[in-house]
């Protein structure tokens, strides 16, 4: 599949830098900010690999590791900078590391990529979280698609979350195969789909078929299937998948019916419309907006 780069946003680096700096300035200690400002200056001027690596790894020592807890206004400003950028779960040290990354000289593409790749190759867990969560903000974003696909293979749960959840990079840059792995892996490790950015936009027939297979496998083993699984299946309902949806409506849990109804509401298949008409109260809730995939996701995850 080819990705239409026209639709992809590239954050303005200067604005992003000052945004991150402002987040830190009102949260870190004065001493921490002094250290950071000195390092930022050093890194942006000379771009010496050694200074950069030392500062990147030492960030928690000087900045602390507390959570960022951004305000609603700050989160709204993040989305203005880069669609889908949502640092709600970031930490102070992680933010400082992102800022250091964005302060590297960028005109020489090879030199920039070499340093970032070296960091990825030698990173500990906290560093990987910062690196993956920074992907949507970095220049030359197309150069990191394989790296993001590698991140999906990790079994360190906080690293996986940094790649998959509230991160707009995968939806914008991953190939269809890698994207589908991301969705499957998220389900597989029991994380919630509603925190994945761009899920609807990247829905596809191959993913819908694989999800249906996965549901069959879980049913055969007598294991529960999260109602969120059907979130990206609706537009691809065919005769086979319609049988799955029928089964959902027969499930004892109401939340499974809600998922079935939502999937039907996204389909043009005549059978799906018919099924939805048999559940007028759910159809009405969908119409009024009180039943959405997000409400199902939040309910399912609790």
């Amino acid at each position: 599949m080819t990705i239409n780069l026209q639709t992809v946003q590239q954050a303005d680096i200067t604005n992003t830098r000052s945004y991150l700096h402002n987040l830190l300035a009102i949260r870190a200690t004065e001493k921490g900010m002094q250290w950071l400002d000195q390092k930022l200056e050093q890194v942006s001027k000379a771009g010496a690999a050694k200074d950069f690596y030392l500062a990147f790894s030492a960030a928690p020592r000087f900045m602390g590791k507390s959570t960022l807890d951004p305000t609603e206004e700050e989160l709204a400003a993040a989305a203005e900078l880069r669609e889908g950028f949502y640092p709600a779960n970031w930490t102070v040290d992680q933010t400082a590391r992102s800022l250091l990354l964005l302060s590297l000289p960028q005109l020489d593409k090879e030199a920039f990529l070499e340093k970032v790749n070296m960091l990825f190759n030698t990173a500990d867990m906290g560093e990987l979280v910062a690196l993956y969560a920074s992907l949507p903000l970095l220049p030359y974003p197309e150069a990191f698609a394989d790296r993001a696909a590698e991140g999906i293979r990790t079994n360190m749960s906080n690293v996986l979350e940094a790649v998959t959840l509230e991160n707009p990079y995968p939806a914008d840059f991953l190939s269809e195969g890698a994207w589908n792995q991301l969705v499957l892996k998220t389900l597989f490790v029991g994380k919630s789909l509603y925190r994945i950015y761009g899920l609807e936009r990247r829905a596809n027939q191959a993913l819908a078929n694989t999800l249906s297979d996965y549901a069959h496998e879980r049913w055969a083993a007598g294991r529960p299937v999260t109602p969120e699984l059907w979130r990206t299946v609706g537009p691809f309902i065919d005769d086979n998948i319609l049988n799955d949806i029928r089964q959902l409506f027969e499930h004892p849990d109401e939340i499974q019916h809600e998922a079935a109804a939502l999937a039907c509401s996204q389909s043009n298949h005549a059978g799906a419309e018919e099924l939805l008409n048999q559940h007028p109260h759910l159809k009405e809730k969908i119409k009024s907006g009180s039943l959405t995939w997000d409400t199902v996701g939040k309910k399912a995850y609790v």
Partner: protein
């Protein structure tokens, strides 16, 4: 409660981890060293350093032991200059990572010009990032090599209080303590120190700036050297407070200057969950039942003597 500030766990088994925890070891420091034969590629160092801050740390945690490390280019491999240059470029990536408590183990082996060059460069790096230094002193020409190691530190403006001089013996201890450095003793069977001699050293020199370790590695060595020596010291009339100083507190104070190791790290989390996984890899293999919960310590050791 013991801290072994020098042990090469990458060459030890899970049985060792289990026995160490049962004997009361709560935390260990693994200095970066050679692997018994010289490496030929910088990538081998990169992956070795990564394993010290990654998988080995995770493996230790599965047995209720907190794992820290020091990062450096050891003296033996400093003699391959082409390789050493490339390893020096890797060090800034690792020395400030979380849980890295110093630059080490560095120093002299044959005391060649190449060893001297990379020892000095690493002292400068430690000074730049304000980290403790863990020094390996040579087996051959030990006394003058130990003194030289310290003189070079002073020449580079490093505070003696930031330097742990390892593998001391009766012949070097006075020089080390008189200069204000930390004196570490390795209780290693057949070479270095036996622990009966160690008891005498503590009786003579007291406990200030003295610590002991096992330096257990891929050779015939004993990962229980620290708890065994502690028992022997108690048996031979050294007070519990003094034993605590040389088997725990002094190492904590010395390496604590990195800001990366503190008592709360293990006091606040003593429970183990072997169901956790790191990169899809568990320390459990097929059919083993995971241990979950508090770890019990017992001081029972078959024999306390290491000669």
């Amino acid at each position: 409660m013991f801290l072994d500030p020098h042990i090469h766990m990458t060459s030890r088994t899970t049985d060792d981890y289990e026995r160490m925890r049962q004997a009361g070891i709560v935390a260990i420091i693994e200095p970066a060293f050679w692997l018994g034969q010289p490496r030929t590629e910088p990538g081998s160092f990169k992956d070795y350093f990564s394993s010290l801050v990654g998988w080995e740390r995770f493996r230790a945690s599965q047995f209720g032991i907190k794992h820290y490390c020091t990062i450096g280019l050891n003296s033996k491999e400093a003699n391959n200059e082409a390789l050493a240059e490339q390893v020096m470029e890797l060090l800034p990536l690792f020395v400030c990572k979380e849980g890295v408590v110093g630059v080490g183990e560095i120093g002299y082996d044959d005391q060649t010009p190449a060893e001297d060059k990379y020892y000095r460069l690493q002292l400068e790096l430690a000074k730049e990032v304000n980290m403790p230094v863990q020094i390996h002193t040579p087996h051959r020409d030990k006394k003058s090599g130990t003194i030289r190691s310290m003189e070079v530190c002073l020449e580079h403006g490093i505070e003696p209080g930031m330097v742990i001089v390892d593998h001391n013996n009766e012949e070097t201890v006075k020089d080390t303590l008189d200069r204000g450095f930390w004196a570490a003793f390795t209780i290693y069977p057949h070479s270095k120190m036996g622990n009966e001699r160690m008891v005498e050293i503590v009786k003579q020199y007291g406990t200030e700036r003295i610590m002991i370790n096992s330096a257990a590695d891929w050779g015939i060595s004993d990962p229980l050297s620290v708890p065994k020596t502690a028992s022997l010291m108690l048996e031979r009339g050294i007070s519990e407070a003094d034993v605590r100083m040389v088997c725990y507190q002094n190492a904590l104070t010395a390496f604590g200057q990195s800001g990366q190791i503190q008592e709360s790290d293990w006091l606040e989390s003593t429970s183990v969950d072997q169901r956790e996984k790191f990169s899809n890899n568990s320390v459990l293999r097929g059919g083993q039942a995971p241990k979950v919960g508090e770890v019990e310590s017992s001081g029972d050791l078959p024999s306390n003597i290491v000669r």
